[in-house]
């Protein structure tokens, strides 16, 4: 590695690696160099000329954003000439800029305003008529006001280079230059709003936020997006108890500046008029409004009766089934399973499993326990990757799925790695997914061919034969290509493998086993669908596993929880989700308790749940809630605090942004129900529950400092018991959400409903 260059800026001796841009070197040393067009990670433009500095021995001022540092370079950033150049640039910019700051959405957080404040030129000598162009609406969420645009081209680059969507461009030339959307007068894109976020001025604004508030009237609440499994940090702008905007204001957290449409706009389901705001009880076949007290008492009465019958042995059917949520917090999930296991005395607890986390954790535990050959045992961190690691790993393998649509943050990070760090991307897919454009090697497979592809990777001759030949997309896969693919992959020393529901159970074990034979470190990310699906599995919303994947059949494991909880836990594994539904349909389940889930969606025997006493706790009247006996209105993730774990295993903290009248947090509902059953649910508060989780749940004993400060910690439930493999892995199914859908929540988000791409975005072509 080359030595650092030494150079001098404003009399200070500095050092930086060869190739470092002067602007970065200055900023790292705390020397301010203003910039509009320079944006770290995006291509260089040299367009705004704000970063001009004096460099000794060069006659003209130079742009610090394009000049690499050089040995012995002498730079001055605050001489009168430099100061004057900045002021002049701002004066030129302001000449045609409308001075409507008081009504501009960016007022108060505008980079141009800031610069003028800092570098002068407030008083304009411009006496001519300004150019006027009407504001344009490009999509339900993107507006463009050309006169405010300073043509820094950040939006064009973030959309093209960052998102790989290329929906924005520059048209016309000279003073008539402006930014244009890809379809003449409107956009056809991913509607992520990254362009709005990156715009230094108020030229691109969001439909959701426009003209609704002034930045200084707002309270900012940093929390975690409640849609997909990637767990982006989003900052809610709240005024008078209403959320006005979502963005990642300070670009902190695991996602940096990234948010997709759901994180940026999809919070709006909270104020959907269909939101349930009062409990409902079925009377004469109809759901009618009731008070919380009535609802809780109705449930308690029924459940007491069932519990009593069971104690007295007069009951034949299974008593209770509990279906938990992929959206509720870790604390809620933990308390829910504790409630199910200790109060309802059942292991009939499950959730919609969208990927087989349990299999992954178990496979990793095995790999750690039995290292390949004579290599030393590796730490868990050698098997699990954080989301950001995708931007720096030297290679990434994506098997199946479509991260761009289902895991927008992971896809963003993968693209960043390819763009800035030369990550070699391998994709195995039956479709030409958008990430295919970035691949180093793309292996087309048949629909559903992921398992076969895995067998091929593991060296199976037959599997290899099945991959050869013409693909539906008209490509030809040859033996040479396959060999080359496997050879190249086999040499990767720092690989991250992403898989999804197509590989579950034994396949996951095989995948991990294959990965641990590669020459270097191979890490894995199981891509599950919702905001806390990983947390649901980790917290034991599984019929055979206690929190941390400890088997209910394992006496030691059970004993540990029983001691901590001072009660007993059934040792018999419970029914998985589909068995519970089937049992209910056959009249073999007395009561089904469904929290934030909609298992009846697409289930045609709804009516036959008839005999079962169904309690549903949710935000909306889902298909399941419609057949319930009691419906309890729950709070969403934006209305409570707690923690969630993203699909990579990163633990983060939710903060309460606002309240919706009439609803209650799930945690709160659990303790009321327990109370009504005569049990004191302890602990009560989310923070206390987290303390218990940190003590009892494998992997969760991580330090909290980072998390409290808005960061994340990677949890690996691998420090406790031998994890149990999940049963019934056939039930692992992806929700197949797209960029514009998000289960139930998506159906009630007006912005997700409004964007036309929701219906026009087509599935990628066959590979």
């Amino acid at each position: 590695m080359a030595d650092n260059f030494k150079f001098n800026v404003d009399g200070r001796e500095l050092q930086a690696k060869p190739g470092t841009l002067l602007i970065d070197a200055c900023r790292a040393a705390g020397i301010e160099v203003p910039a509009f067009c320079y944006y770290p990670g995006l291509s260089l433009q040299a367009a705004c000329r704000m970063c001009l500095v004096e460099i000794e021995k060069t006659p003209k001022l130079q742009t610090a954003c394009t000049t690499p540092v050089a040995e012995g370079m002498i730079v001055r950033t605050s001489t009168p000439i430099v100061v004057d150049a900045r002021r002049a640039m701002l004066e030129l910019l302001l000449a045609n800029h409308p001075l409507d700051c008081p009504v501009c959405d960016k007022g108060g957080e505008c980079e141009l305003q800031d610069m003028v404040f800092r570098y002068g030129a407030a008083e304009s000598r411009f006496r001519e008529e300004k150019r006027h162009v009407d504001e344009q609406q490009w999509s339900p969420v993107v507006y463009y006001d050309a006169p405010r645009c300073i043509l820094c081209y950040r939006c064009v680059r973030v959309c093209g280079e960052g998102m790989d969507v290329w929906a924005l461009g520059v048209v016309n030339r000279g003073a008539r230059s402006e930014i244009a959307p890809n379809h003449g007068d409107h956009l056809d894109c991913e509607e992520c709003g990254m362009c709005i976020d990156i715009c230094p001025v108020g030229a691109l604004t969001s439909g959701a936020y426009r003209y609704r508030a002034r930045p200084w009237e707002i309270k900012y609440v940093s929390t975690i997006c409640t849609h997909c499994g990637d767990g982006c940090k989003t900052t809610l702008s709240v005024r008078n108890g209403k959320i006005l905007r979502g963005n990642n204001r300070d670009h902190s957290g695991i996602n940096g500046e990234f948010l997709c449409i759901k994180g940026r706009y999809g919070y709006d389901f909270i104020e959907n008029p269909n939101r349930i705001r009062t409990p409902l009880i079925r009377k004469d076949g109809k759901l009618v409004e009731a008070s919380w007290e009535q609802a809780i008492q109705t449930i308690a009465a029924k459940w007491k009766e069932i519990l009593h019958r069971r104690e007295t042995g007069t009951q034949e059917a299974q008593a209770f089934g509990v279906i938990g949520s992929n959206h509720t917090t870790n604390e809620e999930n933990y308390i829910l399973q504790k409630f199910a296991r200790t109060v309802l005395k059942t292991n009939n607890i499950d959730h919609h499993r969208t990927v087989d986390y349990a299999a992954l954790i178990r496979a990793i535990a095995n790999a750690i326990a039995k290292p390949v050959g004579d290599s030393a045992a590796r730490p868990a961190s050698d098997f699990l990757a954080r989301s950001k690691d995708l931007s720096i790993a030297s290679a990434v393998l994506v098997i199946g799925g479509n991260p761009t649509d289902q895991h927008p943050l992971l896809a963003w990070n993968i693209r960043e790695g390819c763009r800035l760090n030369g990550t070699r991307l391998y994709v195995i897919n039956s479709r030409r997914i958008p990430l295919a454009r970035k691949t180093f090697r793309f292996l087309p497979i048949a629909e559903g061919g992921e398992q076969n592809a895995l067998e091929f990777l593991r060296g199976e001759r037959d599997a290899e034969k099945r991959l050869q030949g013409a693909t539906p997309g008209g490509r030809e896969v040859t033996a040479e290509f396959l060999n080359d693919f496997r050879d190249k992959l086999g040499q990767e020393k720092d690989l991250i493998v992403l898989f999804e529901a197509a590989l579950s159970g034994e396949c996951v074990a095989q995948l991990v086993e294959w990965g641990s034979r590669l020459p270097g470190r191979t890490r894995f990310i199981a891509q599950g669908d919702y905001s806390n699906s990983r947390g649901a599995a980790d917290m034991g919303l599984l019929p055979n596993a206690l929190p941390g994947y400890a088997s209910v059949e394992d006496n030691d494991a059970r004993l540990r929880f029983e001691n901590a909880w001072s009660t007993t836990v059934p040792a018999e594994p419970g029914m998985p989700l589909h068995d519970m539904l089937a049992a209910a349909a056959q009249g073999k389940l007395e009561s089904l308790y469904v929290i934030g889930a909609n298992p009846l969606k697409g289930w045609d025997t709804a009516a036959s749940l008839g005999g079962c006493f169904v309690v549903v706790q949710d935000l909306f009247l889902t298909e399941t809630a419609l057949v319930a006996d009691v419906v309890l209105p729950a709070a969403s993730a934006y209305e409570k605090s707690g923690t969630v774990t993203n699909t990579c295993g990163e633990l983060q903290k939710l903060s309460k942004g606002m309240e919706v009248m009439g609803t209650r947090a799930d945690l709160d509902i659990f303790s009321r129900l327990a109370g009504a059953l005569g049990v004191t649910q302890a602990p009560l508060k989310s923070e206390e529950v987290l303390e218990e989780i940190r003590k009892l749940v494998s992997g969760y004993g991580v330090p909290l400092v980072n998390i409290v400060a808005g960061g994340a910690e990677l949890v690996a439930p691998l420090d406790g018991f031998q994890p149990v493999s999940a049963t019934h892995t056939a039930n692992v199914k992806s929700s197949r959400d797209t960029l514009f859908t998000s289960g139930t929540l998506g159906r009630y988000s007006s912005s997700l409903q409004a964007v036309p791409e929701r219906t026009t975005r087509t599935e990628p072509d066959p590979a």
Partner: protein
């Protein structure tokens, strides 16, 4: 969309000239415009498709070049230079004269579609100023009288 045989031939030849496909874009656009009078949405879509470019990218390119247009011009497009060398010898007067004579303003087309008028920057005829171009043909050292003759002549010929 299929272009005329000559144009297809031109495109074919162009494609052989460059190691990178996109290089042929600007000539293709100009040649297509020469044949069709302007670059319609269909032409733009077709050329984008052939070049593996987005329509936006092609539109961005078109709107950069002053000779490329997306609206029809007259059959005879009068381009009058008023830049410095021509101005010094009456180019601006010539332009005013043309406006009156044709009854149209800058960038407009006569109702019969025969003429359009454009004030242009230096066309490289400064030593023979004032100069104009009618489509691609240069006319040098013009006076208002000679411009009248030229316009009358075009009208006469195109009526036959």
């Amino acid at each position: 969309m299929q272009f005329s045989t000559q144009l297809e031939e031109k495109f074919h030849r162009l494609a052989q000239h460059y190691p990178v496909k996109r290089s042929a874009l600007v000539p293709m656009l100009l040649f297509a415009q020469d044949e069709y009078g302007f670059l319609s949405k269909e032409i733009i879509a077709e050329i984008s498709r052939r070049m593996d470019l987005t329509v936006l990218d092609v539109e961005g390119t078109i709107s950069y070049y002053s000779m490329l247009r997306t609206k029809p011009a007259g059959r005879f497009h009068l381009q009058i230079c008023t830049n410095i060398s021509c101005m010094l010898r009456g180019g601006d007067k010539l332009f005013d004269h043309a406006k009156t004579k044709l009854g149209i303003g800058n960038g407009e087309v006569t109702p019969d579609g025969l003429f359009s008028l454009e004030e242009v920057e230096c066309i490289g005829a400064c030593a023979w100023a004032p100069a104009i171009q009618v489509n691609y043909d240069f006319h040098h050292e013009l006076t208002p009288e000679r411009l009248d003759q030229l316009i009358d002549e075009i009208q006469r010929v195109s009526r036959v």
